[in-house]
């Protein structure tokens, strides 16, 4: 059977499962549509949360991102540590509140339509920027594995999401996410185990990572340091100079994670407060399976790639271009690998030509005239099965896994958007008197609208698609998280304080990002170049969200104390959220 057929079988098989779930889990009331009836088992909700969280970008790009070494540890810490904040500061109380959406809590807690609307605006900005990446990610996964154009792949994905999200709402989304989690975690861990066995002889990549490299007997990480150093790169375990910025960046990712609406609403679906607490733990167990596997996978895949480019040792001759293996040929055609023979010796010299001392010494001695191979970081995961000579079914599984990761996150985001529109804008602001049935219709129509917009944005991604992570996390950290937390922990905060805090926190963060990445992300309009010398107090635009959060806290508290107390009723409501 050809590889194409195997990939087809895996993807079609997984789609058949999602479709079957869609038909089985139709929503019959708004309660089912928004929060799956509040009857989801905490372990299943944990799995669904993990699928919600692990996006196309995590699946395809994270290993490449962290394969630079210790310097990028922020991503690993940030995207897991946020769950501790979520479990202790938000999830149980929001579950106790027992409503349907994040702006719903903001609107009721601060008894203010303005606060609700500001929250809706922030939510839509966050989720919409986030969903673009998911839709393009689904397209990329299709294009890479199924040889269809990415536009066609994107439309196929949209149709599948349409089916289960419009029919089933949160109920359909939840149970498909459970299935998608199983597919994506198998697709990610099996190649990692395979690679770990090959390189270290350990079954668990987490053990192999700190174990010994099988060929030489020295610790894997030392071997990795040696090889990358031989090629002029920074040591894999090298420490970071600007710890201050690393600290702020990690904090922004953590606080942002806890403030992402599509993750928060998952905790509305469990029956009890105790379940919300357990469920956060289970969610992190399933996420940890992924994020403890990613660092070993990143390190081993990088070593594996370098070893295949330098088949002897990194101090010996590089691979001859005319003898390049099949995977090299295949990924060259996609443009993710590009070769240019600068010294005309027919060999593929891959090294760090930005390291001046290395270029003047070792590279000059070896007769190298510049780095000849450009590697897109995604290659590390996408080409992993082929570089590691893994069986064909693993490639098929990875195709299904990449698509599952994209679809599960996209559907969670679309649900957050559509419920904010139908519940907060239509039901609670514009037409408070509509019936349950009419609201459900509104919810379904909003979902259709959200899917159409997301598909359109996926096909015509704005130039800033790559910057959206900064925006989404910065916004979530500076607007949603502080407002929710103060709503629970500080009784004295009133509507004026919350609105002022949310707006200044979010505006400050957006402006700082725009200052370095271009106003409205239009290239060339940035006020300062985005390099460390120009960062104010050494803070990169990616790390600014937690400062925005601090500003939100300060403004909200100052304004609240300068104005009237929240009403007796509101204070009682805050009390009631605190006690089960």
């Amino acid at each position: 059977m050809s590889q194409f057929m195997i990939n087809m079988l895996f993807v079609a098989g997984s789609f058949a499962i999602y479709t079957w779930i869609a038909i089985w889990a139709r929503a019959k009331s708004t309660r089912e549509f928004y929060i799956a009836g509040g009857e989801v088992h905490p372990v299943l909700n944990g799995m669904a949360t993990a699928a919600d969280w692990l996006s196309a970008a995590s699946f395809i790009s994270v290993a490449g991102l962290i394969s630079v070494g210790y310097v990028n540890s922020s991503f690993i810490l940030g995207w897991t540590g946020g769950y501790v904040l979520l479990a202790t500061l938000l999830a149980p109380y929001l579950r106790r509140f027992g409503k349907y959406t994040v702006p719903d809590f903001v609107g009721s807690r601060y008894d203010s339509k303005t606060a609700r609307l500001v929250a809706v605006v922030c939510l839509i900005m966050i989720s919409l920027t986030y969903v673009i990446g998911q839709m393009t990610g689904a397209g990329v996964a299709f294009a890479r594995f199924l040889e269809v154009s990415s536009t066609a792949g994107l439309i196929i994905s949209a149709v599948v999401v349409f089916f289960y999200a419009v029919l089933g709402g949160m109920k359909g989304v939840t149970y498909t996410q459970v299935a998608q989690y199983v597919v994506l975690i198998l697709a990610f861990t099996i190649p990692a185990i395979y690679l770990s066995l090959q390189m270290t002889g350990h079954f668990l990549p987490q053990v192999g990572f700190v174990g010994d490299f099988a060929d030489s007997g020295q610790p894997l990480l030392h071997k990795l340091n040696d090889v990358v150093r031989d090629l002029g790169f920074q040591d894999y375990t090298a420490d970071v100079e600007n710890k201050w910025n690393m600290f702020l960046f990690t904090l922004t990712l953590m606080v942002g994670t806890a403030g992402l609406p599509h993750v928060i609403i998952r905790f509305f679906t469990v029956p009890k407060i105790a379940d919300a607490r357990w469920s956060a733990g289970w969610a992190l167990v399933f996420i940890a399976l992924f994020y403890t596997t990613a660092p070993p996978l990143a390190g081993m895949a990088r070593l594996n790639l370098l070893e295949s480019i330098y088949p002897g040792e990194s101090t010996q001759e590089a691979m001859v271009y005319d003898d390049r293996p099949e995977w090299f040929l295949k990924w060259e055609t996609t443009g993710l690998l590009t070769f240019e023979d600068k010294n005309n010796d027919g060999r593929i010299q891959y090294y760090n030509d930005k390291n001046a001392t290395y270029v003047d010494t070792t590279a000059a001695e070896r007769g190298w005239a510049g780095n000849e191979l450009t590697i897109n970081n995604d290659i590390l995961v996408l080409a992993l099965p082929e570089i590691g000579n893994m069986p064909g079914w693993i490639v098929g599984l990875m195709a299904a896994g990449g698509i599952a990761a994209a679809l599960s996150t996209a559907s969670g985001l679309l649900l957050a958007i559509s419920s904010a529109v139908s519940h907060d804008l239509i039901k609670n602001t514009l037409y408070p008197n509509i019936s349950d049935k009419a609201e459900m219709l509104a919810a379904r129509i909003s979902m259709v609208g959200a899917i159409l917009i997301a598909t359109w944005l996926g096909i015509n991604p704005p130039g800033f698609a790559a910057q959206t992570v900064a925006l989404a996390f910065g916004m979530a950290a500076s607007s949603i998280f502080p407002t929710l937390m103060m709503g629970i922990f500080f009784k004295r905060i009133n509507a004026k304080g919350a609105v002022a805090g949310m707006s200044t926190g979010a505006l400050f963060t957006i402006c700082y990002i725009f200052m370095y990445l271009g106003w409205f992300f239009i290239p060339g309009t940035n006020t300062f170049p985005n390099t460390p010398e120009f960062w104010i107090f050494g803070i990169s635009p990616l790390s600014i969200g937690c400062i925005g959060a601090l500003i939100n806290f300060i403004v909200a508290i100052s304004v609240s104390y300068a104005t009237e107390q929240p009403s007796e009723e509101i204070q009682k409501m805050v009390e009631s959220v605190r006690y089960p």
Partner: protein, 87 residues
């Protein structure tokens, strides 16, 4: 609300806040402490082939986070029972 009930609620909330503080202190120590700011001083300690700071930044913190959330859930559920506040 009767006076005894109010007192009970206050004590429950204080116990919860204390527990959150403990949880977040450990959370910050493993990730920002061991994994980041204290790393240069922990280079001498090894976990397999990795130095302690590197291991905490890429592996250890995540395991600790998982334990912390389960610890918090277990303690809070016990607290609910003790104060008679179960749903």
């Amino acid at each position: 609300m009767t006076e005894s009930k109010e007192k009970r609620n206050k004590a429950y909330w204080a116990a919860n806040l204390r527990l959150i503080m403990i949880t977040l202190c450990i959370w910050a120590t493993v990730s920002y402490g061991f994994g980041m700011l204290l790393r240069p001083w922990l280079m001498g300690i090894h976990i397999g082939g990795a130095d302690m700071g590197f291991w905490f930044a890429q592996q250890g913190s995540i395991y600790t986070f998982v334990c912390l959330i389960f610890f918090y859930a277990w303690k809070m559920n016990k607290l609910d029972k003790k104060f008679g506040l179960e749903e």
